[in-house]
């Protein structure tokens, strides 16, 4: 009995001990769960806070990148205008030091935060793992498993769907993708319109050998009087001359002499496009705001950076916006608008104007007039001719120029040819069109890049050459055939200034390239070159042994044409985009602020006057005896007593 009782007592105590041990184990486990839970919570919060701080730091750095401080940029820009200012230099250095401190402090913060986040993450992961392990229970394996047949059938369905989706989407993407490369090469390097860019419609270039003598789809004729009809029919019978023609066709003179051309201002930069005017008694004082010496002024309806051209009593000007292109004619004595015509119904004209920059616009090229017709070209590639009474004679489209700023090369006209310099991103090109019909006389490709300069004419040994400047060549072409006569490698970058000519030398310049003087003959080397002051936009002009160069940062320099020796330099407050013109022994140049700086066109450069227009000036002044015409950013002015 006693032994049974002892055994039962012993059993009970073992059982009690066992229960107690299990209770203790349970309590330990519960405590550990709590500890793990709390550690996980704290480390999770810690990670969250650090992550938030890192994100905030990142966002703050994005907003205020210390290395791209606007303050330092502004100071550096000021330093470029005041290079000798020690105060400015010190200011830049201290701001730079602050910026670098801020940058490296931020880097340290990010690095420290990252390490803290990593350590916090490790602690979080470990504590979570322990927590879930301790809470895990051994479960009875389920008898119900996934139904395999159904699962496999589902898998097949979804695999089909996924695979089909991937292949289907790829096919759709393949068909909607535009192969710009293929289109570009198919067009021979001419840009094709991208469908999403509905503004651009590139028209295939009008090939020379497909022009019919009579009006076809590409050329519209609108002859208004017998003289023009007779002349047109005579000219239409002339054979079309291509660039590779063996014999140049005989051409008729325009009927006007060079003296007639000198009396007028027929093209960009006047007679032969060289910047020298033959007019006298040009005014020296005026004020556009007060009206002093302002004979008349009109607000022209459309924007354009082109300069006016003059023939007789008529002044012609053009303007354009994305929707319309217009040509207008004023009585240059009274300012009365004689006619204004919209340029429409040009075969091949794009439905939407190409995108151009605001500082070029669609009407940057200056028109040309030859006494019978006035010719205009626009950034859409439209070339149009009106008679002097405003009747459209012909119009054609040369293809939308592949030009990222906008086409700005002005027209040149001589005898019966309108010369178009058409150097674009698709390649170098120049054309000569019949003045009466617009038909192509010759059309040459040139080994040059895009250019914004305009062709000028020079006479060498009794023959007229068309001289152009582009990257990389300054070159001359025969006016009758378009064949290259000579070229010299000189330019680079985006060439905008046209050439100058004087003392038997051609002068060309461009920013980031050089200023050169070269004889206009094959194989010529530079007579001299310089690179101190280079023009970005304004064309140089040569007169009486002096070459005048105007830079876009407001410096005007005079060089000796033969030696390149600098005669003088002057700096003005505003830059020059308008080209200098010579008239009456004086140099006239308008700065972007609208002030015309009139200096003696000699090796003294004495300032004669500096009249103000009262608005910005980008076009160059146009002269007639006793008057000067200036196109400001808002008005067209006639200035004179």
């Amino acid at each position: 009995m006693q032994s049974i009782k002892d055994a039962s007592i012993k059993d009970a105590s073992i059982k009690d001990a066992s229960i107690k041990y299990k209770d203790e184990e349970y309590m330990d486990r519960e405590n550990n769960i709590k500890i793990a839970h709390r550690v996980a919570l704290i480390s999770g919060m810690f990670c969250g806070i650090v992550a938030l701080l890192l994100i905030l730091n990142f966002w703050h750095m994005k907003q205020h990148e210390p290395l791209e401080s606007a303050t330092i940029e502004a100071l550096v820009e000021r330093l470029s205008n005041e290079p000798n200012s020690d105060v400015l230099k010190e200011e830049i250095r201290s701001f730079d030091l602050l910026a670098r401190k801020a940058y490296f402090t931020s880097r340290w913060q990010i690095k420290t935060g990252t390490y803290l986040l990593l350590i916090g993450g490790i602690v979080l992961a470990i504590s979570l793992k322990i927590y879930t392990d301790l809470r895990a229970k051994i479960e009875r394996p389920e008898d119900v498993t996934e139904e395999l047949l159904k699962a496999r059938a589902n898998a097949q369905y979804w695999l089909f769907l996924t695979g089909g989706l991937v292949l289907g989407l790829s096919l759709i993407a393949a068909y909607v993708s535009n192969d710009y490369l293929k289109s570009y090469q198919a067009m021979g390097g001419v840009e094709e319109a991208a469908p999403e860019q509905s503004m651009v419609e590139v028209i295939e270039v009008f090939p020379a050998n497909q022009v019919a003598p009579t009006a076809g789809d590409s050329v519209a004729q609108d002859i208004s009087n017998e003289e023009l009809v007779a002349e047109a029919s005579d000219e239409q019978n002339e054979p079309v001359v291509e660039a590779t023609a063996q014999q140049p066709a005989a051409v008729l003179s325009s009927g006007f002499s060079s003296e007639d051309l000198k009396k007028n201002h027929a093209t960009f930069r006047g007679y032969m496009g060289l910047g020298v005017s033959y007019h006298k008694n040009i005014p020296e004082n005026w004020n556009g705001s007060t009206g002093e010496n302002i004979k008349w002024k009109v607000a022209f309806s459309k924007h354009g950076y082109n300069s006016p051209v003059i023939w007789g009593d008529k002044l012609f000007i053009s303007g354009a916006d994305a929707q319309t292109r217009i040509v207008a004619c004023y009585n240059r004595n009274t300012g009365q608008l004689l006619w204004e015509k919209e340029v429409t119904d040009i075969p091949g004209s794009p439905a939407a104007a190409p995108r151009v920059t605001d500082d070029t616009g669609l009407a940057a090229p200056t028109m040309a007039v030859d006494g019978k017709r006035v010719y205009a070209i626009f950034g859409t590639g439209d070339v149009v001719a009106f008679d002097l009474n405003g009747n459209k004679v012909w119009g054609r489209n040369l293809g939308v120029p592949n030009n990222h700023y906008g086409h700005s090369s002005s027209l040149q006209v001589w005898e019966n040819k309108v010369v178009v310099q058409y150097d674009t991103n698709s390649g170098g090109r120049m054309l000569a069109l019949q003045t009466s019909s617009g038909e192509t006389i010759w059309d040459v490709n040139r080994p040059v890049n895009i250019s914004w300069a305009s062709p000028a004419l020079i006479e060498v040994n009794g023959k007229i050459q068309i001289v152009t400047t582009s990257d990389p060549y300054v070159s001359a072409h025969d006016l009758d055939t378009g064949a290259e006569i000579w070229k010299v490698e000189a330019m680079m970058g985006e060439v905008a200034p046209s050439i100058a000519y004087g003392d038997g030398l051609v002068f060309a310049t461009n920013e980031y390239a050089r200023l050169i003087a070269v004889e206009p003959k094959p194989g010529a080397e530079y007579t001299w070159e310089d690179d101190e002051y280079l023009a970005e936009v304004a064309s140089p002009v040569a007169y009486n042994g002096n070459l005048f160069v105007a830079t876009s940062y407001g410096v005007l320099v005079c060089y000796d044409t033969k030696t390149g020796e600098k005669q003088w330099e002057k700096e003005f407050n505003d830059g020059f985009y308008s080209s200098p013109m010579i008239a009456d022994g004086k140099l006239y140049i308008i700065d972007v602020g609208g002030i015309t700086h009139i200096l003696k066109a000699d090796n003294t450069g004495a300032i004669v006057a500096e009249p103000e227009l009262g608005e910005g000036g980008y076009a160059l002044p146009v002269f007639a005896d006793g008057v000067v015409y200036i196109r400001g950013t808002e008005h067209l002015y006639c200035i004179g007593k």
């Binding site: 550990n32 793990a36 990142f58 730079d96 030091l97 670098r100 402090t105 990010i110 690095k111 420290t112 990252t114 390490y115 990593l118 350590i119 490790i122 602690v123 992961a125 979570l128 793992k129 322990i130 879930t132 301790l134 394996p141 389920e142 498993t145 996934e146 395999l148 047949l149 699962a151 496999r152 059938a153 898998a155 097949q156 369905y157 695999l159 996924t162 695979g163 292949l167 790829s170 096919l171 993407a173 393949a174 068909y175 993708s177 535009n178 192969d179 710009y180 490369l181 289109s183 570009y184 390097g189 840009e191 991208a194 860019q197 920059t357 592949n402 030009n403 990222h404 700023y405 991103n425």
Partner: protein
């Protein structure tokens, strides 16, 4: 728990040692130098290593793979595999900044095959080949303990959920597509896509673009509940390892001897890589007949899908080739010529200052596009073929009586071994 503390304390100690230089580091502001042309090294790319150290890395990889194979197959130690993966994470991940890795080496190999001017380094080649060879014999031991990407995901598996097999199969097709595209882009010299979108290299280097860090943290957070998301849904190298592993003679097994079908291991795998015995009902005659018909259909469909995929792939060459910077630049300058004046467009400005002509760029881009036209055939064909084979496998019910790891999908992590009550 207290038994575990010393083990994990070791981990924390190791991490502290690694970061001790930071703790002791002073914040020093380096003097700006304007004259000497000092260039601050880029933090996003690791410094090149000495050749001897690169060979040492290969040696370490070989050791790790060998040890992992022994631990998984012979020793059957989950704990050993775990510690080995921690070592790989620290060494190949944090110490070596995650580069070069076997996953990215696919691209090096692809480029070296198709570009005769590119010479692959022996270390990159070995990093590519060794894990595949080990997988061929011992299963995916690389994934078990050598891959730092797998290790970091494996260590944060907290409460994994099981997803239906049809979802797994569908998601499992994505790595195949990713592999194809990566190889094509690498072979054409366009981009190393795998490296660019590696979600964890930013964490390994403690630096990287915001998107990369964001992706990495997202994957880690996701990985707490969906185990190894990158490995299962994206890893292109895993496709190759999976193919090799299916032929492995010595693969990790759940039971050390015979399976007693106790089902204790059934839910042990966080990656749903355990295959259950195939019930006889799935092998019944009427089921077999239906599956046979489907099987024949898929056999016929495989070449159709391959050719269709290849055709679509070659048609896709236009948009695929735009990944190449030259093609992209050429098309950008054709479609938007006004961007030439945009000084903030660094790509165009760099090209304009390079001295090359636009025509040269167009010619280069055309050649590259032609490569994509040919490569598209292979890419599309590969995807079509993979799709067909995967579909075909869905109607094949292999005889199986035991609980076994799927040789292709099993990462040989060893978790299941601890659930098996059978002793050696």
């Amino acid at each position: 728990m207290f038994k575990r503390i010393p083990s994990f304390a070791l981990v924390i100690l190791l991490m502290s040692l690694l970061t001790s230089n930071l703790v002791q580091a002073q914040q020093r502001f380096p003097k700006p130098e304007f004259d000497t042309g000092y260039v601050q090294p880029s933090p996003t790319q690791p410094e090149p290593r000495a050749m001897a150290m690169e060979y040492f890395d290969v040696f370490v990889l070989f050791l790790v793979l060998s040890l992992a194979s022994w631990l998984a197959i012979r020793k059957r130690s989950r704990r050993g595999l775990l510690w080995l993966s921690i070592f790989s994470l620290i060494y190949f991940g944090f110490y070596r900044d995650g580069c070069i890795c076997s996953i990215g080496a696919i691209q090096n190999v692809a480029l070296s095959i198709f570009d005769p001017t590119y010479a692959i380094s022996i270390t990159a080649l070995l990093f590519f080949i060794m894990p595949l060879l080990f997988a061929l014999f011992f299963g995916r031991v690389f994934c078990a303990s050598a891959c730092p990407l797998g290790a970091i995901q494996d260590l944060i598996v907290i409460n994994p959920i099981s997803i239906p097999s049809w979802v797994r199969k569908t998601l499992g097709f994505i790595p195949v597509i990713y592999l194809g595209i990566s190889v094509l882009l690498a072979a054409t010299g366009s981009d190393f896509l795998i490296c660019r979108y590696d979600p964890f290299v930013g964490i390994f280097r403690m630096d990287g673009p915001f998107l990369m860090i964001f992706l990495g943290i997202t994957f880690l957070l996701l990985g707490m509940f969906y185990a190894r998301p990158y490995c299962r849904v994206f890893c292109p190298y895993g496709v190759l390892l999976s193919w090799m592993s299916r032929f492995s003679k010595w693969h990790l097994s759940i039971t050390p001897s015979e399976c007693i079908k106790c089902k204790l291991c059934k839910d042990s795998c966080p990656f749903d890589a355990i295959e259950v015995p195939v019930e006889q009902t799935y092998r019944a005659p009427e089921v077999s007949r239906k599956n046979l018909r489907r099987f024949i259909m898929y056999i016929v469909l495989i070449p159709v899908l391959t050719i269709l995929g290849g055709w679509i792939g070659t048609k896709s060459h236009v948009f695929l080739s735009r990944v190449h910077p030259n093609v992209y630049l050429a098309e950008l300058m054709i479609s938007q010529p006004e961007l030439r004046a945009d000084e903030e467009n660094l790509d165009i400005q760099a090209f304009l200052e390079s001295g090359d002509t636009f025509e040269q760029l167009v010619d280069e881009a055309t050649v590259i596009r032609e490569k994509f036209r040919k490569g598209g055939w292979y890419l599309g064909g590969f995807i079509g073929l993979a799709l067909g084979i995967t579909l075909m496998n869905q109607v094949v019910f292999r005889r199986r009586e035991d609980y076994e790891p799927h040789k292709g999908d099993c990462f040989s992590c060893g978790r299941c071994m601890d659930y098996c009550p059978v002793e050696k």
